[in-house]
Symmetry: C2
Subunit: 172 residues, 2 copies
Amino acid sequence: MTTRWLTPEEQRAWRAYVAGYLLLEDAIDRQLQQEAGMPHLYYSILANLSEAAEQRLRMTDLAEQLKITRSRLTYAVTRLEKDGLLRREECRWDKRGSIAVLTEEGMGALEGLAPGHVETVRAALFDRLTPEQVGQLEEIFTQVVLGFTGDGEEASPEGLPWRRRSSPCSGS
Amino acid sequence: MTTRWLTPEEQRAWRAYVAGYLLLEDAIDRQLQQEAGMPHLYYSILANLSEAAEQRLRMTDLAEQLKITRSRLTYAVTRLEKDGLLRREECRWDKRGSIAVLTEEGMGALEGLAPGHVETVRAALFDRLTPEQVGQLEEIFTQVVLGFTGDGEEASPEGLPWRRRSSPCSGS
């Protein structure tokens, strides 16, 4: 198969995107690390739980919401549980049905961190964009996500981190 | 200061972006890990060196191009040097001027990996976008990068990973 190399326009877009997301992720991670010794992922776990009914989610659903592997989620949840920010409840009749529940302490930590986190996201991203660009950003990345999840059946489970049985590398 | 929370439009855009970049980065990393046991960053180091004059770059310039901290770059370069894909040359009169040079083996590895990598980027991102969206993606993230680097003097060095003396967390 002939390689379909990127066009000059695609190359420019790709470089801008990679540079931008690395700087953005670095700024977000650094702010949360400085304020609470917590990487972005841990904050997202607490935030997703806080928005769920009764502040609880099955681990499999949480991994899907966060677009990460279950093994990576399990590692993070173990750390957050040790800090008392969430607790796990095992499901007696379904071993895979383990549930993560936000604790009051976790909700308190999240409420303390949210203003600084939002300010970082706003200063680094949204303050730089016009309302039209905010809409474009949503459309572009909604397209990307749909490319992975499909409109249902056609998605390849291997491309979905939360459906993968195990990871070929320890990083994920 | 009153927190400037995200508007509903910004929230939707933020969620789509975070989900999209996590899936994109996962797909790219997985393809490179499966093919060469190499994370995305290592590939980027080889690619940037391959495009430099004489396939060599000062470590400080390489860190700036990649938007990462020098300590993270040093770690990656040490691994790549062990595999023979690049070599380091110390600068006798400037300790900070250490230079990374792509080896023939490194160029060979890159040439072998490039088609699969580009195909992954294309399938996950560019095949999903219209030409207008490619232009929008470039503009949005160019704005984001400029927000960090400024048009020169106004940039805060703390926000630039490659200018930071040391990192508060081991992750970067």
